[in-house]
């Protein structure tokens, strides 16, 4: 069986397993949208601040919705993999001639499908609520792509933690840490209007800031090359680095 055949079979397993657990992914649809509605009501007046980049706080904060959904990705991926490790499924795979990269990458397939559905639903809700997208149709597609890639990035981190620890609880810890990074970014206020210098420094160093600002630039500015390069750069590193580390750990696990 070649790599792609193995990958498609294992991916199908991941997709079916993920979609069969609505209790895991349904909250990832509801919570970000609820948060968007509440935050818009709470902080809508912020759009009246001098220098605020757009008159609508809804359009400003909309990019945070995709990111918030992506924060749940480690839980979606890592918990399932931790179960596979504990149940011995991974060990049984070691006895088969399965390609370890196919085994690894296919774990993210279920997440990718959920992330795509989320992005489409959020975009539909946003557009119906009055969100404007300066970059047009191409920008909309790019926001969806970035959203899926961001989810895959967080999923890759969850994968790494699950492989390293074999523990669903450790993966849950990633969720808490990710939320901390989320709030120490520019998700609620543009960088130019952050008056506390220490917070601005933290937000500038925080990679999550660039995952928020890239889709936001498509909503507000149109085509901001710097923001897009930084956003795609961060998400590429988020996907690549944990996957490389995971491949090494998988090699050791399967050889045992």
């Amino acid at each position: 069986m070649n790599f792609w055949r193995q990958f498609s079979v294992m991916s199908r397993r991941s997709i079916v397993r993920t979609l069969r657990q609505p209790a895991v992914y349904v909250p990832t649809f509801i919570l970000p949208l609820a948060s968007l509605a509440v935050n818009t009501g709470m902080l809508g007046a912020a759009a009246r601040l001098p220098g605020f980049p757009i008159p609508s706080y809804l359009s400003f904060t909309f990019s945070g919705t995709f990111l918030m959904a992506a924060l749940f990705a480690p839980t979606i991926v890592g918990v399932d993999l931790a179960k596979d490790i504990r149940s011995g499924f991974l060990s049984r795979m070691a006895l088969s001639p399965v390609n370890r990269h196919a085994l690894l990458f296919s774990q993210l397939a279920g997440l990718a499908v959920v992330a795509l559905l989320q992005a489409v639903v959020f975009m539909a809700v946003g557009l119906l609520s009055g969100v404007t997208i300066s970059a047009g149709l191409a920008g909309t597609a790019l926001i969806v792509l970035l959203s899926v890639l961001t989810a895959l990035g967080f999923g890759a981190v969850g994968l790494l933690i699950a492989l390293r620890t074999g523990s669903a609880e450790a993966v849950g810890g990633v969720f808490a840490l990710s939320f901390a990074f989320f709030f120490f970014s520019t998700v609620s206020m543009p960088r130019e209007l952050i008056t506390e210098g220490w917070f601005k420094t933290i937000a500038t160093l925080n990679p999550i800031t660039y995952l928020v600002e890239a889709p936001r630039s498509l909503l507000i500015t149109g085509w901001d090359t710097t923001a897009l390069v930084l956003g795609f750069g961060v998400v590429t590193l988020m996907i690549a680095l944990p996957l490389i580390a995971s491949a090494n750990i998988m090699k050791v696990r399967l050889s045992r």
């Binding site: 509440v38 009501g41 709470m42 809508g44 007046a45 601040l49 506390e196």
Partner: protein
């Protein structure tokens, strides 16, 4: 007299046991302080510019404005967590020994309440230190600040009774999320980041009906040194506290049938 002495000793014993458990296992008490402090730091850092909005009528700075929300959040989170610990005693069956120890079983609830007040004071002190480090501008006098602490302690107490009621109802750790999230949800539907006049849409409508809205307003007035609606806020908190206490007693009656 002996009954009173017995009741008081049970209250003291339960309170001491609860406090010792929190001190020896920080994972029990830590969430009550970590989450609110985290919000204080993150939101003060990111949203201080909101104070220049027309209609943001608050004489202190943003750290002080937000601090009252964080204080209430920490107090209610702590209170509900302490109250809910009674559920663990059902899981371990220790509750049988507690019930045997006293004819007045309400003493157990009052013991938890006492523990939550002591722990709540500690949690509030830590929150105050962090607030001051963030540059919180306290304009209220000594009496104002005592009033604010008393109001927060009342909220801590009512949350503890609520936690007890849920713990006695569920009798297992399954309800812990509900205990912790009830007041967090209520607080977040109040004017957290801006005054109520600056809220928009359905959030403003909900905030107008939310009992935490006048409590937050009074707390902010106390910390800013121009208190308003203090008797009404205390009255509201006491009434809710009595209701929660009644709920806890009703749950206790139901729980004793399941021993």
């Amino acid at each position: 007299m002996n009954t009173t002495k017995n009741t008081l000793s049970i209250i003291r014993a339960v309170a001491w046991r609860t406090l010792r458990r929190s001190l020896t296992d920080p994972t029990i008490a830590a969430p009550a302080i970590v989450a609110p402090l985290f919000m204080l730091i993150a939101f003060t850092g990111s949203m201080s510019a909101l104070t220049i909005l027309p209609g943001f009528n608050f004489s202190g700075n943003y750290a002080a404005f937000l601090f009252v929300f964080v204080l209430y959040h920490a107090a209610t989170f702590n209170g509900s967590a302490v109250g809910f610990t009674i559920a663990r005693d059902f899981e371990t069956r220790f509750i049988r020994r507690l019930f045997l120890a006293t004819s007045n079983r309400r003493a157990i609830i009052f013991g938890l309440a006492l523990a939550s007040l002591v722990q709540g004071l500690l949690v509030m002190m830590i929150a105050a230190v962090v607030g001051l480090l963030l540059g919180m501008n306290v304009r209220g006098g000594f009496i104002d600040l005592v009033g604010l602490v008393c109001l927060a302690l009342l909220l801590n107490l009512l949350a503890c009774f609520w936690g007890c009621a849920l713990g006695l109802r569920f009798r297992s750790s399954d309800g812990s999320m509900l205990a912790g999230s009830t007041f967090m949800t209520l607080l977040f539907m109040a004017p957290v980041f801006v005054p109520i006049t600056l809220l928009q849409g359905f959030v403003q409508s909900v905030a107008q009906l939310n009992p935490f809205t006048p409590l937050l307003a009074t707390g902010r007035g106390l910390i800013a040194g121009n208190p308003t609606g203090v008797p009404q806020a205390f009255g509201l908190a006491i009434v809710i506290c009595i209701l929660m206490m009644g709920l806890a007693f009703i749950s206790l009656r139901g729980a004793t049938r399941h021993i």
